[in-house]
């Protein structure tokens, strides 16, 4: 199968949907690029700081790929308003850390409008693309992965793909969805490459993916943590421990049934999450599994997360912040060891 980068897979999904549906728009800071330069309409327009939307302005023009001032409340709100008029805007909140400047439009308008208006509308079909992920030496305000904050609000959907193929399929689903979808892109994944089917396909929102089957322990991962856990799982296999690997893909609504089914067989759970641990998706999953499958558990569930700190800058500190494969190995050994010790 053809191989694409994570960034190009997202680009292709948006391109296909824009070609299919004239109501699909792209807005955000420099999503086209060069709008301030009179007559500038070239294919080498930026396409966002990491070039994810590159080329779209050339194909679809500046009426549909729209650069914005640095006014996140205004342009995210505009996307919501346009959604009530039938447009589907893929808007970019450059880094998830920036949510503080526009949170009201996200949690009070996008999330609540459909319900508070009596649920009889066509919904609020917008996609908010946003970058997460530490490791780029950007410091505390352009690196965090705090998706748990948006996942808290009823009415929002939150997806975080781990592979180029899922990124494309989830983006197509997100654009076609009737509800506001947060589409989280870990910037460490942009240059990763993988097989991506040609043409039009969707990956369902609200469904986790069992990446690898295994009898001994269930390892649940979010976004980039899949590749971290894959390294750990390979090492554990060498020690005779077979881990079942579940890539969550969607954070909200949470696909608990798939996790419970797996833990029902393995009896052990490790959740690997780049977010900080308190009130997190990881702690939520551990809590849910503990309360709903307590009798199935052979050992206490464990979390592998970042420390509960802001993201630091110095490379040595930042590398220590991000969960590593060895942390996953140790967590799995601890859950297995508990049983061995009994």
């Amino acid at each position: 199968m053809r191989v694409l980068s994570f960034a190009d897979a997202i680009n292709e999904a948006i391109q296909l949907e824009m070609a299919r549906d004239p109501r699909v728009l792209v807005t955000g800071e420099d999503v086209a690029g060069g709008a301030t330069i009179p007559g500038f309409d070239r294919a080498d327009a930026w396409g966002g700081v990491f070039g994810v939307t590159r080329g779209l302005v050339t194909e679809f023009g500046r009426d549909r790929v729209i650069d914005t001032p640095i006014s996140e409340s205004a342009f995210i709100g505009a996307a919501i308003g346009a959604a009530t008029s039938g447009y589907r805007t893929v808007t970019e909140l450059q880094f998830l850390d920036f949510m503080g400047v526009c949170l009201d439009q996200i949690i009070n308008q996008a999330a609540k409008l459909h319900y508070a208006r009596g649920s009889d509308s066509a919904g609020i079909p917008i996609v908010i693309r946003s970058m997460i992920g530490a490791g780029s030496r950007a410091g505390s305000t352009q690196s965090q992965s705090h998706y748990s904050t948006v996942a808290h609000f009823p009415g929002l959907k939150v997806v975080a793909p781990a592979t180029p193929a899922d990124a494309k399929g989830l983006m197509i689903s997100a654009i076609r969805d009737q509800d506001p979808v947060f589409f989280l892109e870990n910037k460490a994944l942009y240059e990763t490459r993988g097989p991506v089917p040609e043409g039009d396909y969707t990956v369902p929102i609200g469904r986790a993916n069992v990446v690898r089957e295994g009898r001994d322990v269930t390892v649940v991962t979010i976004a980039r943590m899949l590749s971290v856990a894959e390294k750990a799982v390979a090492e554990l296999a060498g020690r005779g421990i077979e881990a079942e690997l579940i890539d969550l893909r969607t954070i909200a609504p949470l696909d608990l049934p798939t996790i419970l089914e797996s833990v029902g067989r393995t009896g052990r759970l490790v959740v690997v999450d780049e977010d900080t641990p308190r009130c997190s998706v990881a702690s939520d999953i551990v809590g849910l599994v503990s309360s709903r499958a307590f009798d199935k558990l052979k050992a206490a569930p464990r979390m592998v997360t970042s420390p509960h700190t802001p993201v630091p800058f110095a490379p040595v500190l930042e590398d220590a912040f991000i969960p590593a494969a060895n942390d996953v190995v140790q967590a799995v050994l601890a859950t297995v060891g508990q049983e061995v010790a009994v």
Binding site: S73, Y87, G118
Partner: protein, 346 residues
């Protein structure tokens, strides 16, 4: 806070047909009657909720919305009953919602502050001061992209005029040259804080800094509001971009129903505004030029009283919502099923 007194009107201003003025009176009378009855029902303990009434401010809703078509969307505020009624939302559907019953505008999920009816272009309202401005940008953007001459309007108060969302939106509206009206209902107070304290300039003075046309208008004088809004809507429909209207007015019921002792409101200011009540001003103007006005006025008021009473009856008669519906409609997407804990159901 000094207001220009409106002189007795003895003839109608050019370009405003008499029938339009009668319609404006009808709209304002509906708003006043609705709000006064809601006030009574709240005081009597019959209506639940947190109510922000707009008695005294009828001219702003009526005068602006008279220029809008059904498909021209508005966004509004926690004080939105007047905008809703002027936009054509059913008084009965509103009253059913205010009663917390099923079958009203918002299925019991919204209440007074969140009334909306997309079908008539009352797109959104809510309890976050200044939040409607970004949303209205999208309505205007959609109209522009669709190539129609549709316009959008956002209503907000002098309190919201100090909010970053409104200022960001003014800039974006100007740079995108959107067909939108920023309608600032300056009722002198953001809760109990005066506009003189919260802003160093009149809100409309900021429009120039954003490159936006603006007008400051006596918001008690519905004819003046109607004329200014007409110019703004014409500009928007012609593709000439946004306009900021600052309409100075007064809320007879204060910030909210049941608010504590209103020592913050100066009696002389209140009596000045009540002396220039928007309904009375328009009635006087019509009486001066329309021979049968007294009969027409009586007829309108009688009709509206019946309409509002029947809306109240509809509210009282409507069933309560099924408690099971609390978990319904969080998402619009019919293909996803979630349980009460927000978890996917396979």
């Amino acid at each position: 806070m000094n207001q220009t007194k409106v002189s007795e009107v003895s003839e109608l201003p050019a370009g405003v047909p008499e029938a339009t003025l009668v319609d404006l009176y009808r709209t304002m009378s509906l708003i006043r009657t609705f709000e006064e009855r809601v006030h009574e029902l709240f005081v009597e303990g019959e209506l639940p909720g947190f109510l922000h009434l707009c008695s005294g401010q009828e001219a702003t809703a009526a005068g602006v919305i008279a220029h809008l078509r059904t498909e021209d969307g508005i966004t509004s505020t926690h004080r939105n009953h007047g905008h809703a009624l002027a936009k054509g939302v059913s008084p009965a559907a509103m009253m059913i919602e205010l009663y917390g019953r099923a079958g009203g505008t918002n299925a019991g999920k919204g209440g007074s502050m969140h009334l909306a009816d997309q079908r008539v272009g009352h797109v959104a309202s809510g309890g976050i001061v200044g939040a409607g401005a970004p949303l209205a940008l999208g309505l205007a953007q959609a109209a522009k992209l669709a190539g129609t001459d549709g316009v959008a309007a956002v209503f907000f108060g002098d309190g919201a005029a100090q909010q970053g969302t409104v200022l960001e939106s003014m800039n974006l509206a100007a740079v995108w040259k959107l067909p939108i009206l920023f309608v600032c209902e300056n009722n002198l107070f953001g809760q109990a804080t005066t506009i003189g304290y919260s802003s160093a300039v009149a809100p409309a003075a900021r429009a120039e800094g954003f490159g936006m046309a603006s007008e400051e208008v006596d918001g008690q004088d519905v004819i003046a509001v109607y004329q200014a809004a007409g110019r703004a809507v014409e500009r928007a429909r012609a593709g000439e971009g946004p306009t900021y209207l600052e309409l100075t007015t007064y809320s007879y019921h204060g910030a909210w129903e049941g608010e504590p002792k209103r020592a913050y409101r100066l009696p002389e200011v209140e009596s000045d505004f009540r002396g220039r009540d928007p309904l009375r001003l328009l009635a006087a103007a019509l009486a001066a030029v329309k021979q049968d006005w007294i009969d027409v006025k009586d007829e309108i008021e009688e009709e509206i009283e019946e309409q509002v009473e029947s809306a109240i009856e509809a509210g009282r008669a409507a069933p309560y919502p099924d408690p099971a519906t609390v978990t319904e409609g969080v998402y619009a997407d019919p293909t996803v099923t979630i349980d009460r804990d927000g978890l996917t159901v396979h």
